[in-house]
């Protein structure tokens, strides 16, 4: 008897959390007082489909669809880089700082490497850094956020302190410092640095999410059903945070890709890495502006923007999953 009206009203009452660019704020939730108010029904019609509902929602969002297709494109480029790239990205046998021509679509670097080939191989680094750096940050955020949120008490106090600390300590300067003084250079250390410095937002986000979830009746219900803490956290709470976790994972991946590019651009990366950030570094330090080799300067920036946009577009879809107001009408 209830579901229909819920659908009509869900835009009014669904909202508990606002997700904007990783800025999460708990909007005070109106207490549920009336039979028509409830908050579990947005996914009214998801039974009997072959495709999972979440995919459907994401896919039905035009922006997200474009994003998914683009991402697939980037993944394919990364996998088949050795087939697609006309030359080896480290081959220095061409003339230095050549302008784009039919041989070198995006010209060459000051060391005589083919820019286009570097661009293609650079896809790999960005994707891997995004996936792993974002992944590491998300896992740390998930563990800390969930433990803090669920355990409460002194554990929460301590972990919240670290979360707040992580929020207050400026990330990029910290990354620069850590990356600059780390004994090894290269993407691995950058992934680690990003993961270790970039989790605070997500943790805060997840903690507040767990805080709202753990007072739900079904958690109490699970306690009464005799479930243990771990089971409650992983089987009752976690699945309800899935779309938000994916959301923050993608955001973290975007952050990781950007941070990697920034760090490499600042010169704390390994200069022999083939990546877009390193290409920008070399373009800046190898005289792309003097020689007017614009393609070398422009291409990696646009590629970075393209990959982040495609992730952001996907996020629009995921956002719609957790936040029905943003679904397209």
């Amino acid at each position: 008897m209830d579901t229909q009206d819920h659908n009509l009203k869900e835009p009014l009452e669904q909202e508990g959390l606002t997700v904007t660019q990783g800025v999460t704020t708990a909007v005070p939730e109106p207490p549920i007082l009336e039979p028509e108010d409830d908050d579990v029904v947005p996914q009214q019609a998801r039974a009997k489909r072959h495709v999972p509902e979440w995919f459907e929602v994401i896919w039905s969002n035009r922006k997200a669809r474009v994003g998914l297709i683009l991402l697939l494109f980037f993944i394919l480029v990364a996998i088949f880089a050795n087939v697609l790239a006309p030359y080896s990205p480290t081959d220095i046998s061409f003339g230095p700082s050549q302008m784009p021509d039919s041989q070198h679509w995006l010209g060459t670097t000051q060391a005589g490497q083919d820019v286009f080939s570097q661009l293609i191989y650079g896809t790999r680094t960005s994707l891997i850094v995004g996936a792993l750096g974002g992944g590491l940050a998300t896992i740390i955020a998930l563990v800390i956020g969930m433990v803090a949120g669920y355990m409460g008490g002194i554990v929460d106090e301590i972990l919240s302190f670290f979360i707040n600390l992580g929020l207050v300590v400026p990330a990029l300067p910290l990354m620069v410092t850590v990356a600059a003084y780390s004994p090894v250079k290269g993407p691995t250390i950058i992934i680690l640095v990003i993961g270790l410095t970039g989790w605070a937002w997500g943790a805060r986000f997840k903690r507040s999410q767990v805080l709202t979830l753990r007072v739900r009746d079904y958690i109490t219900s699970a306690q009464f059903a005799g479930d243990g803490t771990l089971r409650i956290v992983f089987r009752e709470i976690l699945p309800n945070m899935l779309s938000l976790t994916v959301l923050s994972y993608i955001s973290a991946a975007i952050g990781a890709i950007g941070a990697e590019a920034g760090l490499e651009f600042l010169g704390v990366g390994d200069p022999s890495t083939i990546s877009w950030g390193m290409m920008l570094y070399w373009a800046n330090n190898g005289g792309a502006m003097i020689t007017g080799q614009w393609a070398w300067l422009v291409a990696p920036g646009l590629a970075l923007a393209a990959i982040t946009s495609c992730l952001m577009l996907i996020n629009f879809g995921v956002d719609a999953l957790s936040n029905p107001q943003l679904r397209e009408e």
Binding site: S97, A111, A180, K185
Partner: protein, 555 residues
Amino acid sequence: MDRQRRLFSLTSLLLLLLVIVSACGNSQNQGNAKQPAGGNGMIETLNGGAFGGGSNPQVNYNPFSATALIPINAGYVYEPLMVEDTYSCHVNPWLATDYKWQDAKTLVFTLRDGVKWNDGQAFSADDVVFTMNLIHKFPALDTNGLWTSLNTVTAQGNQVTLKFKTPSVAMFEKVIKQDIVSKHVWEKVSDPVKYTDEKPIGTGPFQVESFNQEQLVLKRNPSYWQADKIKVAHLVFSKEEVNQVEDLKLVRGGYDWNAIFMPDIQKAYVARDPNNNHYWFPAGGEISLGMNLTKAPYNDPEFRHAMAYAINRDQISQKAEFGYVKSASQSGLSVPGQESFLPSNMPNKGIFTYDQKQALDILTKAGYKKDSSGKILGKDGKPINITFLVQNGWTDWIQAAQIVQSNLSAMGFTVNVQTPSPDIVESQRAAANYDMIFSVHGGSCSMYENYEYLDSRSLPTVNYIHYKNPAADKLRDQLQQAVTPDEQKKVVAQLAQLSYEQFPDVPLWYGANWFEFSTRKAVGWPDSNNPYCKPADTLLMLTHLRQNTNSQPGK
């Protein structure tokens, strides 16, 4: 529609603002072009590149300070006793007109008369003694390490006598380049280490006119003791910009001379104004392939001998260094500048050429075998895997290392290039924890220093290959004793020979001293045709500059 129009007008307003602001200030931006002086052959202004001091430069003219602004350390204001032309190592009289080693422990300078500090006070031997004692009292000022062997400094008339604890002929280069400060100013300074010397009183050709954080202007010292030789009224230095901007300013004629690395200089700089834009990159220290002599196979001289042939120095020069550098001599000396020190019988001035076959032959002869897959095996029968450490961020070296890697791979070695941070490389090589490495040594006029890396008593950061040879140690000791140039040359030749035969390391190329100059305003710059000094010998250079009277218009 309305909305779009509004958006459009907003955008155009912004653009307009941008144009106005940029146009307004542009007239100002032309900067330093002052009115040309009269026809007295005086160049009004020369723009000499960056004054250093980092992104937030602070006034610091303390000549002893490592963090002072560059022109102060370069002799514009404070002068040394004598000036060495570091290209040919010829010593020019300056504040001292002459020197004499009375014995290997006693050095006597005769000072020039009539030199005045730029506040009008006379320069005297007291100032020299004061300076020497000042850096004794404050070891933090003794950047040349004089007092490691100096015992006493005394003056008698215009003669200053330096007595050393041990034979210290090799200290000469360090003594003569010590900047001399005035006693009457500096004796009042309570903490000369932290003193920033905002109104520097020196004997040099210039004095400070103005400083803001973007620009330092020096003006000619009219009472300079050889004022007739200085034909430049003002020297202008500016804040260090990021690479590209420095490059661009140079290209656009913003500097009359500068010392920056610039990719593809012929095209980017010279071609813009072939009549006026020139460059000269004289050789500096030797960048050498160091091998860890504490382990096999690198401790085998024949292996290192093969390495001398195995590396394509031309490729490194062309690919990693834009063709700016020359192949280095195995003698450890900087040729052609220091040619006169070479043993006369050394073929091709000690420069090895790329010959992979020769390298393989040497290896085979020395007992290194190849396995079925073509990998060269060590004497223990295992394939030779080489770990090559290169300083992170030193991009030309990294590219050079990649060339070494490809050269050696082609022969049948496995080379693994790693790029840790410079500090790591430093500590790893001090700990003999590497296989191959690039390092730099030599290039100075102090032969004692140039061969320090062969001395088993040196710090591991200097003797980075951990070379142990009593003969080399002994030869260096002899250099401390050799008071005459002839004696010195004899010892140096032996050291060069040792280096040539023993292959303690394998010098690959000479690091270049960057030097670009424009003849638009001034002529008389040192270059390959007239290498009267290295570009860093600014005092020598400035006394050679003359106004360009028939200036060719730039393109």
